[in-house]
Symmetry: C2
Subunit: 540 residues, 2 copies
């Protein structure tokens, strides 16, 4: 079957707002609002279990007798427009008491108002084992210093919102008494024992977190693949048989498998967002400079950030709240810093960089976000992603390679054979770069940044975290690389602009997770992270 | 809420045929056919439980791994057209192993072919107690001679397809050794003990049926209400608090409550079809003369028939098969007698005689019949029910009253006060009728019959069995009579034409049953009853 049908360009005007009203009315058991959201008359249908109720009056009486629905969160809203006045939504939810729900609604717009003409709801109870495949045992592909039964590698230094949070620390972060391994045995062999713990990690420890272990990284963090020629490919418990993506591969594997709750990692060109997308984790890449990177091995300082991954959005939110004020990052004076946006922006051009099933899956997550927040989705067309996607990606690669060579060219030169050929080739691409070429590339990126900043005045930009879900771990390098250019085009946007990015792991392509990535104005991290606290649609 | 929106005039062309193909493919686990019935591409959705599968490939893989769906029968298909190329169907099914199923499908027509774009399925297990309200105890409102624990009132005289079938006999049918009560104490008091059992009942007894008891009737069968001024209103176990309808009220109550399996009754103007509709029973009014009426008290011989009610379609089918050849009814030479039709006919005018929720419910049953049989539904507009519905109903009442007075005027005159005033008034309406008026009325009915016969050349006519579900048993007489004129217009059509009618109890208005009535050409009873054997769509 051909699978490259284009996804719909926009959501029908006002439909998701009606969905948000519906979720709010359901949460509040607002019978009058629910009655108004269903089409009047005897033809309206509502099915559940094995029976359909027919007629608005019958449905209304059912709801009045029910006494409310169990609280729930919207995870995905698959929108299928049928024409100017008709649309179908299929909403996947998670109940706060566990279990999942599914709701199909056929909407009709009459006089500008969307109402439900046909509804069908079902659910499934919470499953103790959501996946029949057991998580592979953690191993050396995941951990360089594995968790031990006799206690954390580094205990908490205080009590606070992160007490008991087991943290997997990427092997780029200084921990007093430990070496940094950087995913390269030849690096570890020459690395000094650190005497000071990185401030970002210190902040987490002070808030109650403990270091469970030191987790693997792609070599010197210069890859998005999640494969390491020396240590192997960490298993992805959320997508068995698939890669975790990288370069924060080991921490992502540990959090996905449940052997850690939080990952402290880095993101230069997507190294948190890609594993977040592949492993079904919440991912936060901060505004550039918002979290102190002292004590963390650099790759390309113009783009390097220190950020987080977690399974539980509350853990990510709490940890990010600890990092933001506590570290020495530059305080932003941006007026957007504390504000919610007035819209969610969707770029058809950016969305179309993803494979169609992924684009549809991310659209379903975006629609869920719109329903949760009550924010409209605006189509911004080509405003941020004109035909020069290839140009900005090339510019990004140029600057990244130049800075990476500047950071590690000395090591690469001094330790022939320490890196795998593929990674060494990436560094070498920065070796002989013409200064004018780098300057030109920086000019291109400045233009991208300016356009993105202007766009983010209008709302938060939502795009796929990756162009596809995780590839099979045993796929050929060519197959693993198939969507890398498209993914890099998506991820390098935030990197080039220094804006914060939040990865929401709500998309599904089959059983494989894919992330929705939300970009906010630089410095608006706290407001962006507020999406994690959204229990449902706003009250207003 | 206004509940008088018009139902859709027709079903979208070819949609139900696609539904029939779907049911057949599902029954046969024909994966290629199922694949072809779902829209290609990644946007197609199928939801079940708490999860949606996205994309044709994913859905196809699911079906291939499932190994078939449990066998089921379609009970109702609610069709909601959305435009020329889009429609929703909500299908209610019963699984052959018990339990019910519900399937919402959003269809899109592309190049003339309907395919499923979005599907959602759910189910409910078989319930030991489908209704929380216990059936009221049988009493004198239901039975004149109630079943006894020590054995049947009349045992079977042979063994056959009806062995063990407990039959409630309407108190109009001669049973050797019993009087006929006719729902009127004053009639019973003067009635002789019968010496011969009616041939229709003898045929059932010979095939293994037994007489459980003698069940009440509306007075002299001259009412559709199901109320009896002397014995009370039999309870309706299928619609607690509602009437059973009449005049075969006691037998219907007994079968609905499960204290009998089969009812032997009469239908002059709807006296089997109305209780069948109100009590959720299969009902058969034979072609006029097809079942021997000897030994059964007449009401209006031009219209009187002896027929059946049952909960289980197989019981009705078997009993009807016993009655058809075994009794002395006139053998039909009609060429339609053994043939299946090529279409199901729907008259918007007749359907609109029912209240809108009932019309929608009956349309859902009709769509189910179309899906089960694979027959198309043709809209016949006004072909059978022109603007003179009132004229033919009046003509029918005139002839019925004249014949009823001819049959029982002597008793009515000789026993003042024996009948309730309302029923006596009905007989008295026939007392002084002008002969020319009756002749004129017979001419009107002959015209109705000719038009209907011509129509039935094109297919079987499907209409509501009643204009509404059963009214509350405690409703005022005016409220109980509210839809009587419309119901009589619907039922008198078969009565006037002498054609067979089969009531299928598939409609639901809320929890209340309403019947779909199918009319076939005179003499085509066996083919019409073949609908009861339809386990699913035909193989061809």
């Amino acid at each position: 079957m051909p699978d490259q049908h284009p996804p719909p360009a926009t959501f029908p005007d006002g439909l998701l707002a009606a969905g948000a009203r519906y979720e709010r009315a359901l949460a509040e058991d607002d019978l009058a609002a629910l009655d108004d959201l269903f089409a009047a008359g005897p033809a309206t249908l509502r099915g559940e279990g094995g029976t359909a109720l027919a007629g608005h009056a019958e449905i209304s009486a059912f709801r009045a007798a029910r006494g409310g629905a169990p609280p729930r969160r919207v995870l995905r809203v698959h929108v299928r427009p049928l024409g100017p006045h008709d649309a179908v939504t299929v909403t996947e939810t998670e109940r706060l008491d566990g279990g999942t729900g599914l709701q199909t609604q056929v909407w009709h717009r009459d006089g500008g108002t969307w109402r439900v003409a046909v509804a069908h709801v079902s659910g499934a109870p919470a499953s103790a084992a959501p996946d029949a495949t057991p998580a592979p045992a953690d191993g050396t592909a995941t951990w360089r210093v594995a968790p031990r039964a006799d206690g954390p590698l580094v205990p908490a230094t205080g009590a606070g919102p992160l007490t008991g949070v087991r943290t997997a620390v990427k092997d780029l972060v200084a921990i007093a008494g430990q070496r940094i391994g950087a995913g390269v045995p030849g690096w570890l062999a020459q690395a000094p024992v650190e005497t000071t713990t990185a401030p970002a990690l210190l902040a987490l420890l002070g808030a109650g977190a403990e270091v469970a272990g030191i987790a693997q990284t792609d070599e010197l963090a210069f890859s998005l693949l999640g494969a390491n020629a020396h240590h192997g490919t960490p298993p992805n418990a959320a997508a068995p048989g698939r890669t975790t993506g990288g370069s924060t591969s080991g921490p992502a594997a540990a959090v996905a498998a449940g052997s850690a709750d939080l990952a402290l990692g880095t993101d230069t060109a997507g190294s948190l967002r890609v594993p977040g997308s592949f492993c079904g984790l919440y991912a936060w890449r901060p505004s550039h400079g918002a979290v102190d990177g002292t004590g963390v091995l650099p790759l390309a300082p113009s783009f390097d950030t220190v950020g987080l991954l977690a399974r539980d959005p509350a853990v990510l939110h709490a940890a990010a709240a600890v990092l933001l004020p506590a570290t020495g990052g530059r305080a932003s004076t941006d007026r957007h810093r504390s504000g919610r946006p007035t819209a969610l922006l969707r770029s058809a051009t950016l969305t179309a960089l993803a494979e169609t099933p992924t684009a549809l899956a991310v659209d379903a997550a975006l629609a869920a976000l719109a329903v949760r927040t009550g924010l409209p989705v605006l189509d911004v067309g080509d405003d941020v992603a004109p035909a020069d996607v290839a140009a900005w990606t090339a510019a990004f690669r140029t600057v990244q390679a130049a800075e990476a060579w500047a950071a590690h060219g000395g090591f690469v030169t001094a330790h022939p054979g320490a890196l795998s050929p593929a990674v060494e080739a990436r560094f070498r691409a920065g070796e002989d770069l013409d200064a004018a070429a780098v300057t030109g590339a920086r000019t291109v990126l400045r233009g991208v940044r300016q356009r993105l900043e202007a766009l983010l005045e209008r709302g938060w930009l939502c795009l796929p975290s990756t162009a596809a879900p995780a590839p099979p771990a045993d796929a050929s390098p060519a197959e693993q690389d198939r969507t890398r250019a498209a993914t890099l085009a998506l991820t390098s946007l935030a990197s080039a602009a220094g804006v914060p990015a939040l990865g929401l792991p709500w998309g599904r392509v089959g059983r494989l997770p894919v992330g929705l990535c939300v970009l906010a104005p630089r410095g608006a991290d706290a407001a962006l992270l507020g999406l994690l606290a959204e229990p449902g649609p706003p009250a207003g």
